[in-house]
Symmetry: C2
Subunit: 146 residues, 2 copies
Amino acid sequence: MTAADDRDPEAKRHAERFQRVREAHQTEVAEDYVELIAQLIEKTGEARVVELADWLGVTNATVNNTIQRLQRDGLVTSKPYRSIFLTDKGRGLAEASRRRHEIVRDFLLALGVDSETAETDSEGIEHHVSDATVQAFRRFLAKPKS
Amino acid sequence: MTAADDRDPEAKRHAERFQRVREAHQTEVAEDYVELIAQLIEKTGEARVVELADWLGVTNATVNNTIQRLQRDGLVTSKPYRSIFLTDKGRGLAEASRRRHEIVRDFLLALGVDSETAETDSEGIEHHVSDATVQAFRRFLAKPKS
DNA sequence: ACTCAAACTTAGCATACACTAACTTTTATC
DNA sequence: GATAAAAGTTAGTGTATGCTAAGTTTGAGT
Ligand SMILES: [Mn+2]
Ligand SMILES: [Mn+2]
Ligand SMILES: [Mn+2]
Ligand SMILES: [Mn+2]
């Protein structure tokens, strides 16, 4: 220990959990963007700013700002007035996000949640499920209906 | 319709889901703070800035800023250099948050997720489960083990 | 009552994410 | 190919959330 670290160890664990949630929120926007970009490219051949804005419910200007951050972080490439492409890193994140999102959504559906709620809730929950929880969801999905 | 609203209806629904998630994130910090304040008061008799900072993993200064926002929003009261109290509204939010949080955590445990993961993941998930999903979790918890 | 450490506050800064308004570029249409 | 609409960009603004560093207040121990 570099310094006196003699606080309540329960407080410490509690704090670490919150730090985890804060980290998840930092990657959340990136995950949703690359996932959507991949879907748009797959469905329509390209990902454009207007389309992203339309599907995300934000303005063009906001999408532009975010795309610049994603580019800075090596997830996408884009040239002025052109459509947006994923880097290898971006494609990897998109693929992992898509799979995890699908499991969360399918799990909620299997639990008996209605379709629209499953879509809405999974959009937020997906960013907060660790691998262990995803595994538990998978196990549940694999189980034959009782 | 006030203007031409002739975009892909699927995009529109998709966008609404994201708006939901953004709303959840706006209330998230408030929920975690009042829940923790209630717990500290219950356990130690009062809620102090240092304690909150310790349990949340942020600095005193950050807690101070947030407490000011919560006060502005009518969830807590506090006088300079004194401990923090919940308003009726704050107590109500704390109570609702606590209940929902417990159900999410217990649900993950019942699914077979290990204790530390359940604590960590539920800290993020709790803010993204709608009433319908909470009901589904409850049903699962009520069901006798297969 | 003094002293000093702990607690708290304030000031100043930074980043993320959102917006509107104004401007530029591209592209579709004639 | 000129023109208008659509798409994209930029500038400027605001809030939430975090930080560090510097100051103030409180309260505990002597
Ligand atoms: Mn999402
Ligand atoms: Mn909680
Ligand atoms: Mn939480
Ligand atoms: Mn979240």
